[in-house]
Structure formats: C-alpha cells, structure tokens
C-alpha cells in the first residue's frame, strides 16, 4: 500500500485544507468582470392566470438593464424531463411544458414570472418591487387524492387530468398477488405517508452565465452534481447551443443530496441573458427562494399489504402509492416512485409475489424529485414498517420474523426484476444487535421507567440499488440518458498523474479516495495523483454523482483507464528492459523483470513515454494518457441493519433518540473514515425525516415551511453519538473494486428504525398505537398517547400538514 494511504486506509481528506482556511471556490465566490445580477420575480400564489405584466416603471429604475418575461424565451424549449414512464394501459405519461419563465399561468408559489437584470443585486431587487404584475388567482389543488377527483382544479389545462401516469409493476403479477392476499393466513395492512422534505444543502444554488462574443461560446458556472448532464439538457433541449460551444463548470459545491442534479430554469436564464446583454449574469439564491425553487423530495401516500402463511413466511406484497410530482416534471421525477422504488419492494426477503401500483399526480406545489435515497427510502419505510406491524399482530419477535424470511442465497432474482449479486443479511443483523446491545435493552428500559419515561427499540433492515445503472437496461425502462461514467488518466512525464473524472464531488471526498485507488494500483504515493472534476472543458463526458454511484461507476471507469495505463507502461518497460511484457511485474511503483533484479522506477517509464528516444515507436504511440468509459453490468446492492433506541416523554410527547446503531454492507471500502462520515450524515437526514422535518403547505398552496424559522433542520443536540460499522463486507461481483456505494444508506434505513422504536415504546406502555406518521412531533406522539385530541385541539398544527396526506 502507498505509505500515504491506498485502498482501505482512512486517509485524511486533502480537500479539507482549503475548506478549513476559507479558500474553497464555491460558485458564489466567483465574480466575473462586468457581471450583472438577476432577481427573479416569483409567484406568491399557488395557481393563477397572468393578466398583465407592466415593466415600464421597473425598466426605468436605477441600474436596470432589462426586464425579461416569457416573451423573451419564445424560441427556447422547456426544461426537459429525463425519464418517461409508461402507464398500465400502455399510454405514455402526461408531460406538460415547463417554461423558463411562466407562460401566462403560474402553477406554484415560487414559479418564476419575470427576471430583472441590473448592475447590482440591490438594484435588481429594488426594481422587482416596482414591477407591476396583475394575476387572477385560480383555485389550487394540493392534495393528491383531491387532485384526481372529477372537477378538481387542473394544474395544466393542456392535459387530460392531473394524473401524470398510473404505473403497475410487475403488471403480470397483479392477479396472482391479489389471489395470494385473498387466500393468506394473515394479512397486515398499513397506510402511511412518506413526508415531503426539502433537501437543504447548506450552499444555496447559484448560476453565472457568461458569453464570449469572439468565440461565440457560452460558459455556465453552476452548483451542480453533474455538469455534463446540465450541458446536454440545457444545450440540446432548451437553448439550442451545441456542446462544443457550451462549457459548464461546477466548482466546489456545498452539498447536493439530489437537489442539485436537476437542470433548473435559472441556469438557462443566466446563460441566455448573458448573450442578450453581452455581460455575465449572476444569480444567487436566497434560502427563502431555495425553499420554493429547489426540487422537493418524497411526498408519497401509500397503502401496503403483506400476506403471510401460517408458518409466517411472506407470500405476497401489494402496495398502492400516490406520488406527488408537483406542478412540473423535474429532471428525474418520474423515475423516483417507479424504477427506484418498485424494484426495491422485495427488500431483504423471499416474498415470491410483489405488485406495486403508483399513481403520479400533479399538484400546485414545487416540483418533487430525488432526494437522498430517492424511492428507496420510500420502499424501505413502508416495507420495514409493515413487517414490524405484522410481527406485533402475530405476537412474534420482529428480529425472528425478519430472519425467517431473509434471502440467503445469491445471486437472487427478485420478483421485481432485479438480481441481487451478493449480501449476507444475517451478518449485518447479528452485527447491529451486537453493537446496539440489543440484549441489554431491558435494563435500560427499567432505568427509563424509573425516570418516568417510555423507552422503545426499533429495528429496520434495508436493501438499496446503487451504482445506477446499466444504460441498455435503463433505456428500456424509459431513461432518456445513458448512465455510464468516464475517466481520463493523464500521466505526466515525471510520473505525476491527473485523473479527470466525470463524477462530481460535493462533500464526498473524491479528491482523496479516487487518488487512493489509482495510487494503490500503481504503487506510488497518493500525493502523486490529483483528481480533477466539475468542468466540462477538461473532463470526459460523465453523468455525475447521485444514487451512490461515484465509486461503483466512476471509480470503475478510473480503474479501467488505469489498467490501460499500466498495460502500456508495462510494454514500454519491457522494451527498455529488453524483456517480454508478460515477464514484467509492477510492484510498489517499480517495473521488474520477473525473477531478476532488472528494474525501472515508475518515473523512468513515464519519462520514456514523453522522451521516446529508446522506445518501441513502431509498436506503440508515445505519451501516457488513457480514457475509459464504464457502463455497469448491474446495479449494486448495499444492505444493512439499523437499530434505534428512543425515550418518549409521556407528558410532552417528545421523542429523544438515545442510541442509533448501523451495520452496513457496502462491499469493499476504500476509505473507512469517509464511509462512516457518509453514513452518519445520512442517519441525521433520516432521523430528521422521522422526527423533525416537514415541508408544509396550507390549503391555498402557501408554503408555510419556507425558512429555517419554520422548517425544522436537525441540530447537533437532536442526536446522540452514532455507532456505525461497515465491517460486514460481501464484495460486489461485477465491478472491479467490489464496491457498492454508501452515500444514501443512512437516510434509507433510519426512518423505519426510528418509527419502529417509537411505536415499540408506546406499546410497552400499553398504548396500542398501530402507526404514527412522520415527522413524529411531540404533538403527534402526545395525541397518539392521549387518544387523538392533541394539545392543539383544532386539529393540525403546521408541521402536520403533509401535502399528500
């Protein structure tokens, strides 16, 4: 292993130094000469017809360069959707146009109506106050079931209804599932809400458009998880700019969690306006603006039924979900409740028959798309809740019910069209029971009782599909993109290496871990390897970072490119050492003729590649630079077992997480420190979903949770120290590193563990509560304990107004 850390080392992160000294380069830190500033004027009603916009006063305000409306974008396309779903009846989904600026109708609070560009941010904002917009407010629809009723307000007049699609999976199993449930010895049914969330990376979105008149080329600096995807979508579908005339740069990005995957209207606006105005145009989102313009997450309403035979084997599973799309289709929105959700409904279990129905619905809310986990948390939550409920109804141990139904042989083809390559679910379960001290719970329970507190313990197991994805497969499933990844490994003459990857790091530490891999393969120090990402001008076309795919797909591309480098370097070394390439061994950065002491250092060979005096020029080209594109053969399937322990104050309903243990199987691990950090962060988001976070709208479509005063972001005091273990490892069989991906697991496995723990606490105290929806606020828990009427007797407090419920 390289002395400064190879594969498996908890190498400290090299990117930390700039972040810790204030020398990072985030998009808002970039200022271009002569840049102007845009302020978007957004709808303050959920649904309305724009009668008129009078820009004359605003146009005359100091510093104002131009007021843009939809008229300025008549030649532009709409913001495209990257995935098409086909309904049960064979029809394709309804796909309304998503304009850059509203075309006559606004469809959610925050929908951009006009954009004012001025010489300063303050001037643009001042002019916005003077822009006269007359809007006729229309009835809005927020609730998904209401939206599907006859006579409901229509989000898009151009569509047949508010139903985007009605998806069945696997449709051929439908009748068999119905029969199995009808004939089962026991059926457990649960209705639940997966609460709407807002991703809230700490860096708000920013876009800066620039136009080079001499070269007739555009540059967009943007807070993106996937700059090449933005270049392709915006260039080809929105602004008609060929890719060789469009550079997209995503520099340091302050977190994403999914919300920075999508192509947003503000990016297209700034790119376009920079050409119109012949000067750079910058937009920096305020946090309030982010709440109503970043894509939201989750928002599913589900009924799930689990059938069991007399021996407690799972025999069938049926779920019906309403999934909120919001007012327009965001980039990957249709994939989330379908292929990222339905395919995971088998979970870790041998359930032979599964049927998933999803109705996707338009409402007058911000578009909903992938948020950390994306479909998989929704699948895991309902499954692990219904399994727990079944155990309770049958009076058996929830641990044993899971064990009895675990898949134990791999590869395993599920009834929902995926094949798990490896896993060992008993191992992760054993591990989490050990590190959570499950056996010692009773003693802790007694101590809590002595303090007048209720105490509960909850278990959840999860499976997820990561490393998205085989392009030919996702193409069949409706993806309008390939999902490969790329890397160029450039070896310099003196042996240092620059790796240009299509993956994007926005907190994941690729600069460190990717260098560990390449250094380990060659046997040089990791400090000899630099990772470059985030700029379409100097990286090969890549699909970016989401779905826990970077190491599994991007890392594999890098391995493939490095293998090409090593193969070529071996030939060069063979020539120089006057031996056969087959006899050349590479170890610790030295090429040696097997069985001899004839050896060359890495630097000797790389120098020869660029100073090819003694070189087989008739056989191989000079230089040492290779590119690889890697398209995975399958998804990867990380899995794990999580245990949450809570204390509930029966006087207030407040839930306190007393302990949380996670045992994950991510296959091989490159940097355990970073992997554990990813899990810890995911746990905080999952526990946040379970106990604190809710995106709330009122009945008129006003976004109530539109600031950190109102949206309950988890704070440090909301958590205990976590126990995180990734020592259970069944390597992935189909990628070269044997890795599975770790970015989303924490957010996927934790919500059901928390809810199971709270329900357990209530049951142990004699409160036979079947379920409490997330977030389990003190009000909801207190109300459940005290029979319905909470402290707020008039019904729902703000945090309880889940949109879909």
């Amino acid at each position: 292993m390289p002395k400064d850390g190879g594969i498996g080392a908890s190498t400290k992160r090299r990117e930390d130094v700039r972040f810790l000294t204030g020398t990072g380069r985030y998009t808002d830190d970039i200022n271009l000469p002569g840049q102007a500033y845009v302020h978007f004027v957004r709808s303050d009603v959920a649904h309305g017809r724009i009668r008129s916009i009078d820009p004359s006063t605003a146009e005359g305000m100091p510093g104002v360069l131009k007021v843009f409306t939809s008229k300025d974008f008549e030649a532009a396309g709409g913001i495209p959707c990257g995935w098409q779903i086909t309904s049960r009846d064979g029809s394709v989904m309804q796909e309304p146009k998503h304009p850059i600026l509203a075309e006559g109708v606004v469809r959610h609070v925050g929908d951009p109506i006009a954009a004012i560009v001025a010489k300063s941010r303050e001037q643009a904002r001042d002019a916005a106050e003077a822009l006269e917009i007359d809007i006729e407010e229309l009835p809005a629809v927020m609730n998904m079931r209401e939206a599907l009723k006859d006579g409901a307000p229509q989000v898009h007049d151009s569509l047949d209804s508010n139903l985007c699609f009605d998806w069945g999976f696997v449709e051929e199993n439908r009748e068999a599932v119905d029969t199995a449930i009808r004939e089962a010895a026991h059926v457990t049914t649960l209705e639940l809400v997966n609460n709407r969330l807002i991703a809230n990376p700490m860096e708000p979105r920013v876009a800066i458009g620039a136009y080079d008149m001499a070269a007739d080329s555009h540059t967009l600096y943007t807070t993106s998880q996937n700059p090449h995807v933005i270049r392709l979508l915006m260039g080809a579908f929105v602004l008609n700019i060929p890719e060789h005339k469009l550079r997209v740069v995503a520099p340091d990005v302050g977190g994403g969690f999914g919300s920075k995957i999508y192509h947003y209207a503000e990016e297209a606006f700034c790119t376009y306006a920079a050409k119109v105005l012949r000067r750079p145009v910058k937009w920096t989102s305020s946090r309030s603006e982010a709440f109503m313009s970043d894509a939201h997450g989750r928002d599913h309403v589900t009924k799930i039924e689990l059938a069991l035979d007399a021996d407690h084997n799972f025999t069938a599973l049926r779920t019906e979900t309403h999934a909120n799309m919001g007012a327009y289709l965001s980039t990957f929105a249709p994939a989330v409740p379908t292929w990222l959700h339905g395919t995971l409904m088998a979970g870790n279990y041998r359930t032979p028959l599964v049927y998933v129905n999803v109705k996707a619905v338009f409402t007058n809310t911000v578009p909903v798309d992938a948020y950390r986990g994306a479909g998989r948390p929704e699948a895991t939550f309902q499954l692990e809740r219904v399994v727990d409920k079944a155990a309770r109804e049958l009076g058996i141990d929830p641990v044993e019910l899971r064990r009895k139904n675990f898949i134990t042989e791999f590869p395993y083809a599920t009834p929902v069209a995926v094949e798990y390559d490896t896993g060992d679910y008993h191992a992760t379960l054993d591990k989490v029971l050990e590190i959570s001290d499950w056996a010692g719970f009773d003693a802790r329970l007694e101590k809590s009782r002595a303090r007048g507190k209720l105490r509960g313990i909850g278990l959840a197991h999860y499976i997820e599909a990561c490393g998205i994805a085989p392009s030919n497969l996702v193409g069949q499933l409706g993806a309008r993109a390939g999902l490969f990844e790329s890397a160029t490994v450039r070896v310099n003459a003196t042996g240092g290496i620059t790796v240009m990857t299509g993956s994007h790091s926005h907190g994941q530490g690729h600069a460190t871990t990717f260098a560990q891999v390449v250094a380990d393969m060659i046997g040089i120090d990791a400090s000899q390897v630099e990772i470059s990402h985030g700029d379409t001008a100097n990286t090969p076309m890549g699909m970016g970072t989401y779905g826990s795919r970077s190491i599994a797909v991007g890392g594999s591309a890098m391995v493939k490119a490095t293998e090409k480098i090593i193969a070529k370097a071996r030939k060069i070394a063979a020539h120089m050492l006057e031996a056969s390439a087959d006899d050349i061994e590479l170890k610790d950065g030295a090429f040696t003729v097997a069985g001899t002491d004839k050896s060359l250092n890495w630097g000797d060979v790389t120098l020869a590649a660029y100073v090819p005096h003694n070189y087989p020029l008739d056989e191989i080209e000079p230089g040492l630079e290779e590119t690889a594109f890697y398209d995975p053969a399958n998804f990867t399937f990380p899995s794990g077992a999580y245990v949450c322990e809570v204390e509930v104050d029966p006087e207030t309903g407040k839930v306190e997480v007393q302990g949380f243990a996670a045992a994950d199987d991510f296959g091989n691990v490159i940097n355990p420190m970073i992997v554990e950090g990813q899990v810890q962060g995911g746990l905080a988001q999952g526990i946040g979903q379970a106990l604190l976070e809710a995106c709330a709208y009122d009945d008129d479509g006003q976004l109530l949770s539109a600031s950190y005063m109102d949206y309950a972001m988890p704070r440090a005091y909301d958590f205990p120290m976590f126990k995180v273990d990734s020592s259970c490892r069944t390597p992935c069989t189909h990628n070269p590193l044997g890795v599975k991906g770790c970015g989303e697991a924490g957010a996927i496995g934790s919500p059901p563990a928390v809810v199971n723990a709270v329900i357990d606490a209530l049951h142990r105290a004699g409160h036979e509560i079947p379920h409490i929806d997330m977030p389990m606020t003190p009000n909801r828990v207190w109300s459940a304990i005290h029979g319905g009427a909470g402290p707020d007797k008039d019904g729902e407090t703000m945090e309880e107004r889940s949109v879909g419920a």
Binding site: D16, F19, L20, G22, M202, S286, S288, M721
Partner: protein, 161 residues
C-alpha cells in the same frame, strides 16, 4: 455611501458601503474574502459566523457600519502564523468534521468562541452551543468529536482501517 474601516485578521481594511450593507457582504464583496459563507437569510444557519471584538457574531445580522473600527476575525485568520492549520482546523481535518465544507467556516468560528469561554466542554455542552450552526452533511457526529479533540479531551479515533 459611507467609508468604513475595520481591522480584519490583523490588517486595516476600508471600503465604501451603503447603509444596508451587511458585514458579510462587506467581507465577501468589498474585501473579496469569500471564506465566510451565506447559507440562509434568517440568521439560523451560522455559516457566516465571524468574531467581532472577540465575540462570535453572525455577520449576516450586523451592518458593516456597525463594525466600523472593530477587530474582526474570519476563517481566513484562523491559521497559524506559518500558514499551517490552527488547532481547531487541524482537529476538524483529523476527525473528518467536514464534508462539503460550506458550513465549516462558521463551525470553526463558533468552536473557537465556545472553547474561549469553556475550555473543556462536555459533549452535551458542545451540542447545545452549536444550536446556531446547521450542518447538513456530517450529522454533527465528527464535528462534536473534533471540538472535543481540539479542547484536548480524549475521543475515539476515526474509523479503524
């Protein structure tokens, strides 16, 4: 426009500001010191924490004019004289107390203020003190560990290899 002068990280810095210019805008836009970040508009997130005359302040809640004549310390002023990471900064790296890095300047500045008033804080005291600093990446786990380590207290090492 009014001229303000303040001592930032040991250097006298001046600039012209409007009455409404916030201290964070002055730092980021007038002085081009972009280490201090803006993560919200309601003074909740703490990404903009700096020290003004020794007190931790959210620089989005203070007008630049109010800091006229003040001693201001920002994340750019936290390294040792030789440019190496200061004790708190080093602990954040050693214990993986940051991921995307956006909240980090505020976290480090808050940690510095905490340790100035409470040199050996308990885990609970650290968690309570960070009420005004939001991190979305780390789950706070390693931030808490880093601050404990920076205060000279024993903490478990990062992940075993």
């Amino acid at each position: 426009m009014t001229k303000v002068t303040m001592n930032v990280n040991g250097r006298s810095r001046s600039g012209e500001v409007e009455g409404r210019t916030l201290l964070v805008q002055f730092l980021r836009e007038t002085l081009s010191m972009t280490g201090t970040h803006v993560g919200c508009d309601t003074s909740q997130c703490g990404a903009c924490v700096v020290h003004v005359d020794g007190q931790a302040v959210k620089s989005c809640t203070m007008l630049a004019l109010e800091a006229d004549g003040a001693e201001v310390t920002t994340i750019e002023g936290m390294t040792n004289a030789d440019g190496s990471l200061g004790v708190i900064q080093q602990a954040f790296q050693d214990y993986h107390g940051l991921q995307c890095g956006f909240c980090t300047p505020g976290m480090v500045m808050s940690a510095k203020a905490l340790l100035a008033e409470n040199p050996k804080p308990s885990e609970e005291e650290i968690r309570e003190y960070l009420e005004g600093n939001i991190c979305r990446c780390t789950g706070y786990h390693n931030i808490v560990k880093a601050i404990m380590a920076a205060s000279g207290q024993q903490v478990e090492p990062v992940a075993a290899e």
